[in-house]
Symmetry: C2
Subunit: 457 residues, 2 copies
């Protein structure tokens, strides 16, 4: 077995050994790994050994920034220099019922910002932004960089899928991490997320880092660690970054699925959304407007965002975006045009009392089981299935009260999903002793946000 | 990227994650990895990630034994059931000037034991047993299992190279470890050594674990850890195992090379070898005779070994073995028939005083540089080059005294090698404050050596 090396001066095995022994890699050693992995010159088994050493030894902040930078420059980056307005984006670490993108992107664009949002598909128990959008008839998420620019020119915001040209290093490395048990590293997660987001060439980024039973980071301290790492990495690369640590211990809003979540996002843009969803959307949008210098503070941004919902301007933007991306914008006013499931069933409470908790990951799994998400990357997604939660944590319940309605297309999948949801609800006599806040923490960088990039361009 | 699994019930990625998180793998999980690696069903990148997790998290004793057992059974094992005599072997972790195999194998065979010794080639700064033997004209180390049996029938001992049928898992895994920075793990080293030795189907094994500047384990505590692990692993598998931790802070004996080492081993079998080499050979042979039940204790074994040298029976066995393996046994009495180098040069002392230390790894490197060893696996070895140390650690020296004679075949390699040897000697006014013992420790298993194998056969 021969190990080829991407650059003559650096031996891959020496870099692996250095990390194995807890040393700090230089920028050129990290570039060597990323370049060699992407080009295929360094075999996967060497990258896999390095990834495991990185998971177990950790990376320093400087290494994490260097990794992010090397990955970011592994392919093309967007050229949005034609836009004089500030460019911002929002990224979520993933959860159940998270449809904030469809609300905050239009708000920011309505305020005059440019939002070149590149999103992902659902995997595991979480839904995918692109899957949800594709429940809108005709909506096209597979845009080239040039088509993205056309959409941004017409309406200021777009939500598209990853292109093959952007950050090829992450695609390669993520696939390898997925099968080598090296996903769960805050440093590698940070580099993966930040390299993709910074390849959008944005000025500011708001991170929605989820925590709770439906999040990847179950514990708030893990979420905070990742959030701090991402904020610091962004700041090191000269970007303004804010992280909002938000609750994902129960689904966000009342719907989980694809078409049902679009419907709820539209309701929120119309001022008729559920309280928790609205609150988080205003927080995220407020931060975006602040980072995009449309407001003097996040609080001012929040007020501006509220106004843009009230005036209908944000909803109008969403319509424009759907049209610009080839979709049928009439679904905004005629939600009956969205895909509907053939069957529905109901989960009712046997008990009287209060909802103590809703096992959030299980609710996500129930939706995936009905076809609303993916168990494997190749799976197709059913846009019509999903569920509506009528009771959420803390709500009082009478015996016989409706807890949840389930929409499904195949009988053999509906009943098991219903059972899972039923078991996800925990009802007790008294209200929950502790109520979890929706916003756990907000993490910002140091006051002077602008620092030089780690790479000369 | 798809991860195939060798057995349906166990997912490779779950096994990797379990070790990553510090868990203990079951025997069937370890068998899954070894089987999948050997067959190629599990891709190298998954094995590499697991190896790195194993290096950083360690393996328990049970895991190490299970790994050894699974590797041992990855191919054929020798069938030596035709021999009623006990079968023993000796294995060294590698050093400089280590020629004990050529002394102890004939001694054990002369005492009536069977010694089916499977050895390796030199790599790095250490010499290889097979390379040294091949300096004897005609000596054939590439024997099949059947040919090995023929040699054992005729003279009781044989020293041959690894066959393709024995322990294929180790060949595969070692090549991967070499390029993924996962060599340096006592548990993986233990499994690699013990699986190969136990595939010889021996009853007893004496391990010569080297420590000092010329050993892989520089520190005595690392050598002791590896030794204990190997003894325990062997005992768990029902074998009698003893480890001798011996000094490798300076070369063993006075010669380093190939032909020169054979010559020194022959001298030792004739009772005219250097004191340290003889002492270690008697210790190792004494333990072999004890484990092979030819002596009631290792000390008794040592006496027996000494007698077999004195009587000339051990030397006669070595002659028989050379002949049985196709070599010219007349070299034993006519060492001038061994390959000789064209040139020689001398290293003399500029100072008066005592040899404080000889940097042992450097002496090994000097020999490799002249062509006496391998920098890469593909390199050919020059049997004629080498060196003779006239002064060793602790010896008094006068200015102008000869320290070392160097034998070489190419002028551009001779001078740099001479310089390295010159710099390897450290001379000071006073004798060294601390003298290192030749035998640091002897590690044996629990009194009742016989335990059931971890695998039912």
């Amino acid at each position: 077995m021969e190990a080829s090396t991407a650059s003559a001066a650096i031996r891959t095995v020496d870099v692996i050994r250095k990390k194995r022994d807890g040393g700090e890699l230089s920028t050129s050693e990290i570039e060597h790994l990323v370049r060699g992995s992407t080009s295929g010159e360094i075999p996967d088994y060497q990258i896999a050994a390095w990834l495991m050493a990185a998971v177990l030894r950790g990376l320093t902040k400087a290494e994490t920034a260097a990794l992010t930078d090397a990955m970011l420059h592994s392919g093309e980056v967007l050229d949005l220099s034609e836009f004089s307005a500030r460019k911002v984006d929002k990224h979520s670490t993933g959860g159940v019922g998270d449809k904030t993108s469809f609300v905050v992107a239009p708000i920011a664009a309505a305020a005059g910002l440019i939002v070149p949002m590149i999103s992902g598909r659902g995997l595991g128990h979480t839904g995918g932004t692109l899957d949800k959008l594709q429940s809108i008839p005709g909506f096209n998420v597979d845009l080239t960089a040039a088509e993205l620019q056309t959409v941004l020119r017409s309406c200021g915001c777009a939500i598209i899928g990853q292109t093959a040209q952007l950050v090829p290093a992450d695609r390669k490395m993520y696939a390898l991490r997925d099968v080598t048990g090296t996903i769960e590293s805050p440093h590698l997660i940070c580099a993966s997320i930040m390299s993709k987001k910074l390849a959008e060439e944005i000025d500011g980024l708001v991170l929605d880092v989820k925590t709770g039973s439906g999040a990847f980071m179950k514990r708030p301290e893990d979420a905070a660690l990742l959030a701090e790492l991402m904020v610091e990495t962004g700041e090191r690369m000269g970007k303004r970054v804010v992280a909002v640590i938000s609750d994902m211990d129960q689904p966000l809003g009342r719907t989980v699925g694809n078409a049902v979540e679009i419907e709820e996002a539209v309701a929120t843009l119309k001022g008729a959304g559920p309280g928790d969803l609205l609150q988080l959307c205003l927080e995220l949008a407020g931060q975006m407007l602040y980072l995009g210098e449309r407001a003097a503070s996040a609080d001012e941004g929040k007020k501006l965002a509220r106004g843009l919902i009230k005036s209908g301007k944000a909803l109008a933007k969403f319509r424009e975006m759907i049209t610009a991306q080839g979709g049928d914008a009439s679904v905004v006013d005629h939600p009956e045009k969205l895909p509907k499931a053939r069957y529905r069933s109901e989960v009712k409470s046997d008990l009287r009392g209060y909802v103590q908790a809703i096992q959030c990951e299980q609710v996500g799994n129930a939706c995936v089981l009905m076809g609303g998400g993916r168990e494997r990357k190749e799976d197709a997604v059913d846009p019509a299935v999903g569920l509506i939660l009528h009771k959420k944590t803390g709500d009082p319940v009478a015996a016989g009260d409706l807890l949840c309605t389930i929409f499904y297309n195949s009988e053999e999948r509906g009943e098991p999903a219903r059972k899972i949801v039923e078991q996800s609800y925990r009802i007790a006599n008294a209200p929950p002793k502790q109520t979890r806040p929706l916003i756990h923490r907000i993490i910002t960088g140091p006051p002077s946000a602008s620092k030089s990039s780690t790479r000369a361009k």
